[in-house]
Subunit: 411 residues, 2 copies
């Protein structure tokens, strides 16, 4: 392909060295590399799980300058292509990076403490939410389950479908909370309203659900009207910090990731002023096994202002307000599966997404869904459901057996 | 009783003022007071749950100087008597103090951080353990269950007896760990060996169990011989810091309370070097909903070197070594019940205890058991069971339903 002069030979061996150093940086994953000049090689002796084609020299330079943002952007723009299964590729890269970073703890921990001083303002928070959730309901309808639940599902058995598992998740949350008819529920960050509607329709709860996403709130209100649940569920377009009414149950599924470490104490205070003494609460959030900063590409393009906290970081919501944590469940494998199901749905509609937006956007979301599944698969990401009560509430369940009564997955 | 001169009247009203200030300090509990001079009064308008008799003026002064140590010592020495139910009295005092301290968080949190710098040395740790656990096996046999399990029991139903609940706890731990025949288990802090023996006898595990208490280890070895389990269970008289062998399962029930905050990271490192990549671990410990120092009387007379950590403090065991916490259960109500059961057993043998030791020791332990039950009842104390795996272990249970299969309490 290229002319083999001594000059280009030197350049080729320089390029190879650059790529080698880059691959070493990410733990020498089992992938093969194809360069813009036709060069092909691999750094691991093991059979490659996929081939990464770097189609332009400038893409390699962007990778070197910023591996995460560089890769994400170049992939989205088609300057980098992955031949083979994108999820297998993402799993391999994530696992290699995880092995590579095995020893690191205190650096990221320190960064997390500094990060805790950087709060999301009301305006900034609104902007961040708009960036992700106001992409258009039609976009999410293409690949989410019919209820539009955009958080970790709960597969009672591995054979469950995504739709079954999302319904089971709604039930799992209600069961944990021992939700009873007539109870007043506040939901902070309600997405398209699936949980709020389910609580009202199937458990007789009175729900006030908050969200700052205009499109999601509009959709949720429509659903409430269609289902005749307007009198049981109120959808409020507002920030969680403005919630100020008493409730029996406080629930938040998939919002904490957007709150930002610096506001964890504020969220705790909001819950404290709302939750009755004999009330109960549940927070469901993506997390980490130990403090780590978010991937820079994710922050730049997918979740501005987002943070996945370690349990130690999460306790800042609960301990200053003296909540008693009664149960924590880690649903990590379920989120790996959820993302893989979303990915499969998404792959079937990529062309439609490209037509709605453009090719770059479609590729960006493809990578994001594959990368997220890989994050949960490798343990880089975790999913915590934290059940808690105000200090001194004695109305706690005696054992957790009640959570598993009547589950369809029972052997 | 006393002569009513104007001098003694002044003295009496001074004494009353002192006691009033003291009772205000502990949140004006619903108790009545009887003084050495025959004076009787109460500070709350509500019906008193018990009467505290302060039999000597010097006891009142000791209470003022140091409410916790003063009360504990004076009660033990009979200078203070409680008329009525000691547990009801302890519950009331604990609840009043908890209400009183509602707002405090950052002071205790800061003290906890300072405390984290003060490590229990090997010698000190051994001395502390000796202080509590080498009181004589005969003493504990008087009021514990037949297996001598001296940690929180698990009452599958509230109707269970202490012996049933301790057996159920051993099973609950084994079930959580998915213990299989032939697996190698390391137990750190094995008490009288009940869990290690149960794991070997009923689950076919090979257990190496560590403890620094000479008397407990001797008893546990006898039990192993009696049960013919010498080949399956090895009891080692040594500190957890010296454990250095590979295992499938690492378990520690009721030891973390004695480790001291400063050594949490060390414990994590010990587990990391022992636990295989596909292994699983469980730590069961008394804890707090938020950082608080231990009661000074408990530290002085009952558990020198002890500390009940908040979850935030506990993460120092897991996060630096990147363990993934997959499940946390808070068994607080079960420990309130366990202590109440111990207390009832103990009250039936108080005379025997006084004969074995002396009256002061017998009263001290009576107060300690009542106070502990009150601590768990009020939420001052919590009980956490933390299940964890090494980072990247994918052999985690799919849901927690397996923990509730075949429980006798099932409806």
């Amino acid at each position: 392909m290229s002319v083999d002069t001594s000059h280009s030979l030197a350049e080729r061996s320089f390029d190879r060295a650059l790529i080698h150093s880059l691959l070493k940086h990410v733990g020498n994953p089992r992938i093969s590399i194809r360069l813009w000049n036709g060069d092909e090689f691999q750094v691991s002796d093991e059979r490659p799980v996929a081939c990464m084609e770097i189609r332009r020299r400038r893409a390699a330079l962007r990778l070197l300058r910023s591996p995460s943002v560089g890769f994400g952007e170049c992939y989205s723009q088609g300057l980098i292509e992955v031949h083979g299964d994108l999820l297998a590729f993402a799993n391999e890269i994530t696992a290699a990076i995880t092995r590579k970073r095995e020893g690191r703890y205190y650096g990221p921990k320190l960064r997390s403490m500094l990060h805790a001083m950087n709060a999301n303002s009301l305006t900034r928070a609104r902007h961040n939410v708009h960036h992700h959730y106001d992409l258009g309901n039609d976009f999410y309808k293409l690949w989410l389950d019919p209820r539009l639940v955009y958080t970790c599902a709960y597969y009672e058995s591995p054979a469950a479908t995504l739709a079954e598992a999302q319904l089971a998740k709604l039930e799992h949350v209600c069961r944990k909370l021992k939700l009873r008819p007539g109870q007043k529920v506040i939901e902070a960050g309600c997405g398209w309203g699936a949980l709020a509607l389910h609580m009202a329709e199937h458990h007789g709860a009175n729900v006030v659900a908050y969200n700052t996403s205009t499109e999601q709130i509009a959709y949720a209100r429509e659903q409430a009207a269609t289902l005749g649940l307007d009198d049981k569920v109120k959808f409020v377009e507002d920030d969680y910090r403005n919630i100020d009414e008493r409730c029996d149950v406080f629930v938040s599924v998939g919002m904490l990731e957007h709150v930002g470490l610096a506001n964890f104490g504020t969220l705790g205070s909001v819950i404290k002023r709302c939750l009755k003494k004999d009330g109960i609460g549940l927070i469901h959030s993506i997390g980490r096994s130990h403090a780590q900063k978010m991937d820079p590409w994710i922050i730049k393009h997918i979740f501005p202002g987002g943070h996945a906290p370690s349990l130690s970081e999460m306790t800042a919501v609960f301990e200053p307000c003296k909540f008693s944590i009664i149960d924590i469940e880690n649903l990590r494998p379920h989120y790996a599966r959820t993302c893989a199901d979303w990915l499969r749905n998404y792959e079937a509609v990529t062309d439609q997404v490209a037509a709605m937006y453009d090719e770059e956007f479609a590729r960006m979301w493809h990578l994001y869904l594959a990368g997220s599944s890989a994050g949960f698969q490798s343990g880089t990401l975790q999913l915590y459901q934290v059940l808690f009560v105000p200090h001194g509430n004695d109305q706690v369940p005696w054992t957790r057996e009640y959570q598993y009564q009547g589950q369809s997955g029972r052997a």
